[in-house]
Structures are given as C-alpha cells and as structure tokens.
C-alpha cells in the first residue's frame, strides 16, 4: 500500500492528468448516453412495438467485448480512429442499455390509474410526461445512470488501449511490466472512482425522489459535480500543453523505447505527451497515420509482414529500405535503425554453452540428448521450429514440449528443458544465466527497431529528427536486454532507467 502511495506521489502530475481523462471519459459518455437513451426509452415505453427492437439492439451492443468494439471502431470514418473520440463512442454504446432500461422500466411503472387521472384532469400529453411520468420514472432512470457510470468507469480503463488515456494506462503498463504496484495505481483509483460515481448518483436519486429531497443533498451533489467537472477540465488542460505525442505498444520494451523517444525530444525543450500501451501493432499504426500519435518505435519485420503484408526477409538493409519507402508514401519517415534486432533467439544455459563450446545454432548437434521446449506459436509457424531444423539440420532428442512463453526462460534455467526459443531482447536471458546462439545462417527474419515519425512533424521540428538520428546503432541487443531487465526484473521506474541510459549516451557522445 505504501509502495502504491509512493508511486502515485512520484507520478503526481501524470496521475492527475490520467485521472482527469478518466473522469472526462465517463462523464461525457454518460451524458451522451443519457441524452440519447432517455428520449429513446420514453419513446420505447410509449410504443411497445418499438421497445423490443431497441432493447434488443442495445443488448446486442452490450455483448460485444470492449476491445473488439474498439477494434471495430478504429477504421470507421468520423467516429473511428484512435483517441478520445472513439473511446467516447464505445463507452456511450455500453452506457445506453442501462439508461434505456431504467427509462423504460420507470415510465412503464407509472400506474395506469395515475395517468388516466392526469389525462382526465386536463393535463396535455406534454404535461403528463413532464409533471407525472417523468418525476415518477426518475428514480428508475437515475438507477439506470448509476449502472451506466459504474460500467463506464470500468470500461474506460480499456480505452487506454486505443490511446484515450485514463487510469487504464497504469493497468496496462503494470500488466506489461508485471508490476502490481503500477496495476494498482490504475485499478484502485478506478474502483474508488466507481464508488464515488455511484454515491454521487445515489445522492441524485435522493434528490429525484421528492419524499427524501433535502437542501443539503442538493448542495452536496452540486458541489461534487462542480469539483469533478472543474478538476477534470483542469487536469485534461494540463495534458493539452504539448507539442508532440509519443506512442508505444503494450509491452515493456515498447514502453522503454517510447520513453527513450519521449525523453530525447524533451531534451530538445519540447513538451511531450505519452500515449503508451496502445493495444497492438494495427492500433499503433492507425494512430500514427491518423495523427493520434506523432511517433513510435516499430520493428522493421513487423512493419513488413503485419502492416504492408509482404513476405518476411532475413536481410536487414533490404527490409529497412522496403519499409522506409512504403512509410514515406504514407507521410511517415522511418529514421535510422536503433541497432538491435528483436528476433527469435535460440537459448541454452551459459554453463552448457561453455562446457560444450556452443556458439551457433548449428552447434546444437553437439549437445547430445538436448530436450527442447517452445511456445505454441514458434512450434506452429513455418518460419519457426520446422524450418529451423531443416535450415540447420538439427537432430534433437524427441519431440519438443509446448510451453507458456512466460515460463520458457525459467524452465531452461531449472533444467526442465535444455533449449528454447525466446526473445533476443528479453531481460530474462541474463537474469536466468542463458546465452543466445548465433543465427549464422540468417534463418530468422529481421525485426530491427526503427523510430517512425510523421513527416509533417519533422518539417516543423527538424531538431527532433536530428536528435533521434543520433540514436542510430546506439542500442545493442545486450543494452536493450539490460534496460528491459531493469524494468521487468528489478522493477525500476522506466522513466529513471531511460534517464540514466540517455545520460550515459550523452557523455559517450561528448567524449570524441
């Protein structure tokens, strides 16, 4: 708990901005859902033939998993893309059903005799609605809004995956770093926010009920609304003063790379907003193309195959040139490669490598009785295990075991298996005393780290291009592994790790 408080205290400004974004997302989406759902609910309550299809549609929308809904919205014009607007659309979709239900239940729950009396006394149909049906349905509508707010606070955490910010940033960051303190920095405030939102609307419910209305409840609700609106606007205003938005995908190395790009730019005296933890390659790419972010670091092989749908290649320069040309056509500049190639690594224990003189993958045939274990994907893909045995003429003992990717490093260290295929830049390699066998036949495709920047930004701020070009070749796989391990293994703050790394680089540059 004290670790959590320390974390929040040391990230105060960022935390407040994220919290503000979260509150704005929930308030705005609930308001839009109310503006749409309440009139629709009244209509549906009046015309039961309409109620069924409307509720069925809202129900259907509710069953779409939130990440799938975000993914579905990204390519759409106007409401799509990445960032706050798309998040609002998705959150509104989820908030409408409870509002709709509450309204329909509330209006239909007004006793028929009461309506009959109202009509017979000469209320116009508008007066029946405003003076009789509305006040009697209001408690039910408010409870619909309460459900919408609680759902909204939860779902808004996922909005982080499409770059809308919010407390989800911490949850995704923490998940990527396997750091429960960071996860809690998002999850605990989100839970408190849900409780506070529910309490505020419970108060609103009391005000809606004329029997329990009180001056103090009205005052308390008004105060809560003013404070949260003002606070949220102020907090999102903090985030508005920025020149460049730096993105990253949602795993540790990407966060470190994003932080490196961000700090390099900050050292040029520019304001940077971080939109880390974007939920995948397609989302990050879409964000870059649409201007949701200005820059992020991608891997050349990933761009080649996943974005441009070209066959993989093992030649670093060829891949880079192909990718660079295609990005140029999209208005994106691919800056020089950072130096490391984040491809598959065939790993053995350092002690075995030394004992048996293992240097290359081909040397594995010297390792009699070596037992292999791989992640499911590596076993299945044609450019994985199958091709590897052919390329190197490997003869391993028995069938390889299928294992969870997170466990393979430890499994080798614990001598459950002797050979595995991991990530070249995994911090676990040094931590578990493993070594990478050289791919001297260039079997694996290249995944060189390449900073991508929107060309228009480079025109406006040429100093960014200059600063990032200086990183060319500055990061070896060993350096990246060290940074990953510092964050993943030693639970250091990515900001501090990167700052120390850049300080060291600068002294290196300063020497000659």
């Amino acid at each position: 708990m004290s670790a959590l408080i320390d974390f929040i205290a040391s990230h105060r400004a960022e935390f407040i901005a994220r919290l503000g974004e979260h509150v704005v997302l929930v308030l705005a989406s609930t308001a839009i859902a109310a503006a749409l759902g309440i009139p629709l609910g009244i209509l549906a309550a009046r015309k039961p033939s309409l109620a069924k299809p409307i509720v069925a549609l809202a129900n259907l929308a509710q069953t779409i998993p939130s990440l799938a809904l975000f993914g579905f919205l990204i390519p759409l014009p106007f409401i799509g893309g990445i960032g706050t607007r798309t998040a609002l659309v998705a959150l509104t979709v989820y908030a409408i059903l409870p509002v709709l239900r509450g309204t329909i239940t509330g209006i239909q729950g007004v006793p028929a005799t009461v309506i009959e009396c109202a009509v017979a006394m000469g209320l116009t149909s508008r007066q029946v609605l405003t003076q009789v049906e509305w006040p009697l349905a209001l408690p039910s509508i408010v409870s619909g809004l309460r459900v919408a707010v609680v759902i909204g606070v939860g779902t808004a955490t996922i909005a982080s995956a499409i770059g809308a910010g919010g407390l989800g940033d911490y949850i995704f960051r923490g998940l990527a770093m396997v750091d429960s303190t960071v996860i809690l920095a998002g999850a605990v405030p989100a839970a408190l926010l849900a409780i506070a939102g529910d309490a505020a609307l419970a108060l609103a419910g009391r005000i809606a009920d004329p029997r329990r209305r009180s001056r103090s409840a009205v005052a308390a609700l008004a105060a809560m609304l003013i404070v949260s609106t003002a606070g949220a606007l102020w907090a999102s205003g903090l985030a508005a003063r920025r020149d460049i938005i730096v993105g990253s995908k949602n795993f540790t190395e990407q966060i470190v790379l994003g932080e490196i790009v961000a700090q390099v730019i900050e050292r040029q005296g520019l304001n940077v907003e971080r939109r880390f933890n974007l939920g995948g390659t397609a989302i990050a790419h879409q964000a870059l193309i649409s201007g949701g972010i200005d820059t992020y670091v991608e891997y050349s092989g990933t761009s080649l195959t996943a974005i441009f749908n070209l066959p993989p290649s093992t030649d670093s320069s060829v891949v880079f040139e192909q990718v660079r040309d295609r990005y140029a056509a999209l208005g994106v500049t691919a800056l020089p490669r950072l130096g490391f190639n984040n491809t598959f690594a065939i790993l053995v224990r350092a002690e075995d490598a030394e004992r048996l003189g293992l240097k290359t993958i081909g040397d594995l045939n010297k390792f009699a009785g070596a037992r292999a274990g791989f992640g499911y994907e590596f076993l299945e893909r044609p450019d994985g295990f199958k091709g590897l045995t052919v390329a190197y003429g490997l003869q391993l003992a028995g069938q390889p075991r299928t294992m969870d990717l997170n466990l393979i490093y430890r499994a080798v260290a614990a001598k459950e298996i002797d050979v595995t295929a991991g990530d070249v830049t995994s911090g676990q390699i040094e931590a578990q005393h493993l070594v990478v066998l050289e791919d001297d036949r260039h079997y694996f495709p290249v995944y060189d780290a390449v900073p991508l920047v929107r060309a228009t930004l480079l025109l406006k701020h040429p100093e960014i291009g200059e600063a990032l070009r200086r990183l060319e070749g500055a990061m070896s796989a060993a350096e990246m592994r060290r940074l990953n391990y510092a964050v993943d293994g030693e639970k250091q703050d990515p900001f501090q790790v990167v700052r120390a790394f850049l300080d060291k680089l600068e002294t290196l540059y300063a020497k000659p």
Binding site: E116, C117, A118, A120, M121, G122, R211
Partner: protein, 245 residues
C-alpha cells in the same frame, strides 16, 4: 359497445349509472370527458357538443374521481388538490386559500393534511382528497367512477353522508358509476340501469326499485333482501339468451 343510449343530466342532479361489469357504465362516463370518442352520436356538455370543445378545456371544466382516488404519489395532498388551479394559472395565494377551503370542505383539517403524502392516508382520507381535487377548479360537471368502491362499509357510509352534504351545498351535475344498487339508490336523484350497452331504466330510485323489468329486478333484488348481500343470484338462462350480444 354502447348502443342507442340517450340520457340528459340536469344541473345540480346526481345520476347514478348502475350495471354489471362490462355493461358499459365506465365507457359511458369516459365518453363525457372525451377519454374515448363516440363512433356515432353526440355528447353535449354545457349546451355544446364535446367534439366542439377543446378536450383539454373540457376536462379542466370536469371533475374526475376514480376508485382509490388516483392521487399522484409524488405530490403532497396540497399539490394534488392544486393541480388544475395551477394548470389554469391561478395566482399562488388564491391556490393556497382554495386548497385549505377544499380540505375543510371534505372534512380534513388543512394544517394536518396539507403536507402529507398520499400513501400516508387511509383509504377514506384518500377518497376525500380525490373529491377535493376534482372540485378544485369549481367544475360544473363531476364524473365519479366507483369512487367509494375500495372502501370498507363503515367508511363508505360515512362518505355517502359527506357526499350528500356537499352536493346539497354545491349543486353540481354529477354522473356516478357504481355496481352497488344500494349506493345508487342512496346517492342518485335518478338511477340509470345499463344492461349490455343499453339503458334499460332511468328514473327516480323509487320507480327503479319497483321496476318489473327482470334485467333491473335482478340488480335490485339483492339490495332489498339484506340477507343475501354479497351473493350473486343466478340469472335465468332464458333471459340471457333473449337479449343476445
């Protein structure tokens, strides 16, 4: 459902509509304030066909009381009574004075009842408030649909006395729907008996009580034989057949 019905109600007169469930008495009542519209024929209120009235104005000029009063649960007693005067945009002070006057008139102390909520009242009190609400804007016509139907016998007879006292003072044209012949005889200046959508008798209680028409006699009989109140006398099958649908 109603067919060939013709009935005139004079100012200050109470006409009780009686009949079994489904005989059309509530339908007839609702035709008067245009809650439903006639397929054929005409309803004339204050010398003017209701189709010529603005329905909203017509209803504001017509008091309406139903079983269990139909009070608005989200409004206090005073607010319930004040609805029509407020719709008519009476000045605030006049509304407040009128509410107190009406509460006193129906036998409820204003100071005690003004700020109560409908669910804090007994059935009889609710019905008194309902009556006060119907009378609020001083309508010339009062429509009452089973107004005392949900009350226990003692409360009901208390309210009968109260109603007669009020009517003696106010002299409104009243149409009162009831399925209770005793109530119709007690309150009505005239009693109209509805049978399958037609008026089969319409006269003073004394005349209706002695009617030889079997359709009327079947309704009257249980009231005269006190011992059988609450029991339904079987109707001879022959009569039902001859009346048709």
């Amino acid at each position: 459902m109603l067919e060939d019905v013709s009935i005139a109600i004079g100012a200050g007169e109470v006409v009780a509509l009686v009949g079994r469930s489904g005989s059309g008495k509530t339908t007839l009542l609702r035709l008067i304030n245009r809650l439903i519209e006639p397929d054929q024929g005409d309803v004339i209120v204050d010398g003017r066909s209701t189709s010529a009235w603005d329905p909203i104005a017509l209803r504001r000029n017509t008091g309406y009381v139903i079983q269990d009063a139909g009070l608005f649960p989200h409004m206090t007693v005073a607010s319930n009574i004040a609805i029509v005067p407020r719709l008519l945009q009476w000045p605030g002070a006049k509304v407040i004075a009128r509410v107190d006057e009406l509460l006193t008139m129906v036998g409820l102390a204003p100071a005690t009842y003004r700020d109560r909520w409908p669910d804090e009242l007994s059935g009889g009190e609710r019905q008194r408030v309902g009556l006060a609400r119907a009378l609020a804007a001083d309508p010339s016509l009062l429509l009452m649909d089973e107004p005392f139907g949900a009350l226990d016998p003692i409360t009901r007879s208390e309210l009968h006395v109260e109603f007669k006292r009020l009517q003696a003072a106010l002299r409104r044209a009243v149409v009162l729907v009831t399925h209770d012949m005793a109530e119709a005889f007690a309150l009505g200046d005239r009693v109209a008996v509805l049978f399958e959508g037609r008026i089969v008798a319409c006269d003073t209680p004394a005349v209706v009580r002695t009617s030889s028409d079997p359709r009327v006699a079947a309704l009257v009989a249980p009231t005269s034989a006190k011992a059988t109140v609450g029991q339904t006398r079987p109707v001879p099958p022959k009569l039902q057949g001859s009346e048709g649908g």
